[in-house]
């Protein structure tokens, strides 16, 4: 898969069992290094009408991907870099701060992480995610207040009832620290 090529280390090798809910039979039928299939067919050309279309295919479709996979790849890469610099032997926990405007599923993040981190010093590390609420600041009275964007529809300052509000937090996407041994 395309993402694997971008990792600065080796994540090759088949993992026992079938990841991401792919049927075991389908997974077994794939080559052993499926996770690194990373196909980038050098732009095949196709002519349509009078113009040329370049076609770049990034990966063989093995199973669907959600953006959690790309996010996980980045988390692992950053954590390994810091752990290696500190000559740590094992990463135990990774603390993240993710704003609630982002639709990231904790469960999938951890599942992808477990899969990608196999045989690395981050194997079995726990992702500890702090969800940062959406906080708005009122343009009239300066009051800042948290707001659940998905449940309520009318964003209003609880202090002065003003509606000139600005989003001041909720877009975080941040790795805070890692616990290592």
């Amino acid at each position: 898969m395309y993402f694997a090529n971008r990792l600065g280390y080796d994540v090759h090798g088949r993992v026992p069992g079938s990841p991401f809910g792919v049927p075991e039979s389908a997974w077994s039928a794939l080559p052993a290094n499926t996770i690194s299939l990373a196909k980038y067919n050098d732009a095949a050309d196709k002519v349509s009408g009078r113009s040329r279309i370049g076609i770049i295919t990034f990966q063989e479709q093995v199973f669907g991907e959600m953006h959690e996979l790309a996010v996980t790849e980045s988390i692992l890469k950053v954590a390994l870099r810091h752990a290696n610099e500190a000559k740590a032997e094992k990463i135990i926990r990774i603390h993240l701060r993710i704003g609630c405007l982002s639709d990231v599923s904790d469960e999938w993040l951890q599942r992808y992480f477990d899969f990608l981190s196999k045989d690395s010093i981050a194997e079995k590390a726990e992702l500890s995610i702090e969800h940062v609420p959406a906080v708005f600041c009122c343009g009239d009275c300066g009051e800042s207040f948290p707001f659940n964007l998905r449940e309520m529809s009318n964003i209003q300052c609880p202090q002065c009832k003003g509606s000139k509000v600005t989003l001041i937090s909720g877009r975080e996407y941040f790795i805070k620290d890692i616990e290592v041994m």
Binding site: Y2, K39, I56, A79
Partner: protein
């Protein structure tokens, strides 16, 4: 028993992509090419808007299109029929385009002969909002049949875009879409966003949108 140490990291999760996106943006700026990233749900009219825009810009700017799709090239073929260069990115499952993919696509284009590159991102209001493509401006489409509650469900998308095109306004009479409520919801998430009400079918509103695009190109490239 070994001691547990805490190492401060303090890094953005998507720093790699953000950095690559910044590189792409700088490179295109130097080459005098404006890149626009269009994001929206499947069926909201991304390809229709792009075709309308390209037709309106004929004689004004030399354009190319990067089409993102999970596994097809139908959109690129429609663009190519207009004699516009098109690159189809097949992500093979990935739900968004990122700066690394866009860079590969740009390498396939004859960039010296272009003023404008339009990216048609994967049809999805969630994932594409997370990944900076390196475009100078981000635009999104929300079509009337999707409903006026979408800013509540996909706040990030509405907050990262410079322009919002409300498409299929010819359906307004048939739906309970409340434009005023919708605009208020959007403005609270993103007070600076420019909003255009259009119908790609009738052509209504397209000139204002194209005018905005021309202004952005002029301001960015100068």
């Amino acid at each position: 028993m070994q001691e547990v140490n805490v190492i401060e990291v303090k890094e953005e999760i998507l720093a790699d992509n953000d950095k690559r996106a910044a590189d792409v943006r700088e490179r295109l700026h130097k080459q005098g090419v404006f890149m626009l990233n269009i994001m929206a749900s499947p069926g909201s009219g991304k390809t229709s808007l792009i075709l309308q825009t390209l037709r309106s810009l004929k004689g004004h700017s030399r354009a190319a299109v990067i089409e993102g799709d999970i596994d097809s090239s139908v959109d690129a073929e429609k663009v190519a029929k207009e004699e516009i260069p098109a690159i189809q990115l097949r992500t093979g499952g990935a739900c968004h385009l990122d700066a690394f993919m866009i860079e590969k696509a740009l390498n396939e284009l004859d960039i010296d002969k272009l003023d404008l590159v339009i990216i048609e991102n994967i049809g999805n209001l969630v994932c594409p909002a997370e990944f900076d493509t390196g475009a100078a401006r981000n635009a999104m489409i929300l079509s009337v049949p999707e409903g006026d509650d979408k800013p509540l469900k996909y706040p990030l998308m509405f907050s990262v875009c410079d322009a919002l095109v409300v498409n299929k306004i010819d359906y307004l009479g048939l739906s309970d879409f409340n434009m005023q409520v919708f605009r208020e919801r959007v403005r609270k998430l993103n007070p600076k966003i420019s909003i255009f009400e259009v119908s790609c079918k009738t052509g209504e509103g397209i000139p204002d949108w194209v005018e905005w695009l021309k202004e952005q190109m002029a301001a960015k490239i100068g």
